[in-house]
Symmetry: C2
DNA sequence: CCTATCGATGTAATCGATTACATCAGAAGC
DNA sequence: GCTTCTGATGTAATCGATTACATCGATAGG
């Protein structure tokens, strides 16, 4: 920078101002500086700026595993806004190992990032709370109500209810539910929505029809197999993920039964392959990209102290009707 | 840091040494320093260190779109090694817009990253060459041989050949190929492998059996539909991606034909859903996670000047035989 | 006993920008 | 004509660690 200043015949302060606050520099001087910058092919050293300003224009995204399409879609949304607003995205893959996140928390304390978006951390409440009190943090898409922190979530209760309702409306009375791991709020909420729909429909919840899965294809397969082994199997199943729904369907088919004729299935997530699978999956579509965008937007407000209180945004899932539930609208 | 120094009764230099080169500090002093660090809950400011050392311990991964499973698997591998070696991973999503990469290139010039891994950039040769001459760069999984830069690639010619060979061995003579976009080397190589297999088998390449797709489900569907509309449709198809293979199968089924009975299909990539799809897909599995790990390892060597020449690593794909080709080994 | 060497530590320059404060010329107001 | 204000620019402190060099005491060798 001093080279540029020398060549332009001004001080380094003027060079800096030309780049950061052009309006405070005379047009003529500005031109000289720009000419010198171009002549020397000068690029500011961002590290020095960051040190002085104590900001990095970088945010950290902690994700259980980036290979999972649900998370990578959210990251896509985060990245879109980050780019637009001049932020960089640092990826923190925990591979489901909770302790890994403590390494990432140090990034904060070392001022390596200005903020953080946590995707499903399983971090103990007090730890997260302490962190959120001190640093800008947004949690998505699974957040516990017990921590005061900004969140971007899905209305999982309502979504679970609407998925189940759809099956009720189609005339099903024995509707099973294969939930996600019940240690996360989203799974609990979807289960709750399922129960609400049944109760509000005037029926009783049969707990033998509820099985806990872990969102994977194979857990869906096994849960469904267990349901089929009972004396009175369900006529419909609401699964908390599309992967589990596919597993369930595979299990149903393996018994020589047909979907949706013998058993109707509704999934959750609307992953890419849900419209490729046979039968195509009726599912609750989460606006994941949108949610990622919102999470980043909220985080930036927080970083700039534009929003002092924590904010909560709740999105609605969209019911996408395809073949697996037995009705196709055109 | 000066607070720590004061409390421990030493200079800042000693504090720094205690953390960076503990062996040069007397055990007793070291203890005093550690005690002071703990008492004050001190964390070094990494920005200052970076500025002084002119290194960021951060690498940039430029990826066309992170939502694509092929890329996110490679990123997973990169991330694994990065973590192990104390590097952070900055994500650069280009969303297939080539010009976006120029923004990321500035990161280099501004010394925001120590190195870069490029996943399928479509960057013009001269630009990439200039960059590679000046900075540590690794290209994967699609690289042009015309640029001198370290690469981690798949042997796409051999892979295409083996996939096609497998179909030849099963007795097929009219084998079609649905390629990826032919502007990238991997697609050209897979096509070349396909042609080699046919020629070496003693047959002739029929160019009406070659269709260009773009790796997507729908392009596979359309390419297959076009093939089925010809007077003598193929009895087997080798697709350059699993997604296209699924599209092709959907097209075949929509004509009332059966896979593999009427037409055998082989895919490429071994994405997660290839074993869920019906029929399960025979496919060439790329060791994507491994390739990501290797790319990062090579990059680190380059950053540390351990490897002065550019290096090239070529991986082999593994043929995974499932239902869609008509033979199942147990 | 003196000097060379070494180990442990301190002093202060350094990385490269940003920015509070100082300076100065010229315009405006009285 | 003198003061005051304003706009443009320069001077130098600053961010917080790292590290070349300096210092000093102790030990070893002669």
């Amino acid at each position: 920078m001093s080279d540029v200043a020398k060549l332009a015949g001004v001080s380094t302060a003027t060079v800096s101002r030309t780049l950061q606050n052009p309006e405070t520099v005379k047009e003529e001087t500005r031109q000289k500086v720009f000419k010198a910058i171009k002549a020397l092919d000068y690029m500011p050293n961002v590290l020095a700026r960051q040190l002085r300003r104590m900001e990095t224009k970088t945010i950290l995204v902690v994700v259980p595993n980036i290979e999972n399409n649900v998370f990578s879609q959210i990251v896509g949304g985060i990245d879109a806004v980050a780019n637009e607003r001049g932020y960089k995205v640092l990826l923190g893959n925990t591979n489901h190992r909770v302790e890994k996140i403590y390494d990432y928390i140090d990034h904060f304390k070392q001022r390596q990032v200005d903020g953080m978006i946590v995707l499903l951390s399983n971090l103990p409440d007090p730890v997260l709370q302490d962190l959120a009190n001190e640093f800008p943090i947004v949690v998505t898409p699974d957040a516990k109500a017990t921590v005061e922190v900004s969140t971007v979530t899905l209305d999982n209760v309502e979504s679970g209810k609407r998925a189940t309702d759809h099956l009720l409306k189609l005339g099903h009375r024995r509707i099973a539910h294969i939930s996600g791991t019940l240690d996360i709020t989203s799974s609990q909420d979807r289960l709750q929505g399922y129960q609400q729909a049944i109760v509000e429909g005037g029926y009783f919840v049969d707990h033998t029809l509820i099985k806990e899965g872990d969102f994977t294809f194979s857990s869906g397969f096994e849960a469904m197999s267990a349901l089929l082994n009972t004396s009175v199997p369900p006529t419909a199943v609401f699964c908390a993920s599309d992967e589990m729904a596919m597993g369930a369907i595979k299990s149903i088919k393996s018994r020589g039964l047909k979907v949706p004729d013998d058993i109707a299935v509704v999934g959750f997530d609307n992953i890419k392959f849900s419209e490729v699978f046979e039968p195509t999956l009726t599912t609750m579509a989460q606006p994941l990209f949108q949610m990622g965008k919102k999470a980043m937007t909220v985080l930036i407000e927080r970083i700039n102290n534009e929003a002092l209180e924590e904010q909560h945004f709740i999105y609605q899932a969209e019911l996408i009707v395809r073949e697996s539930c037995g009705v196709i609208f055109r």
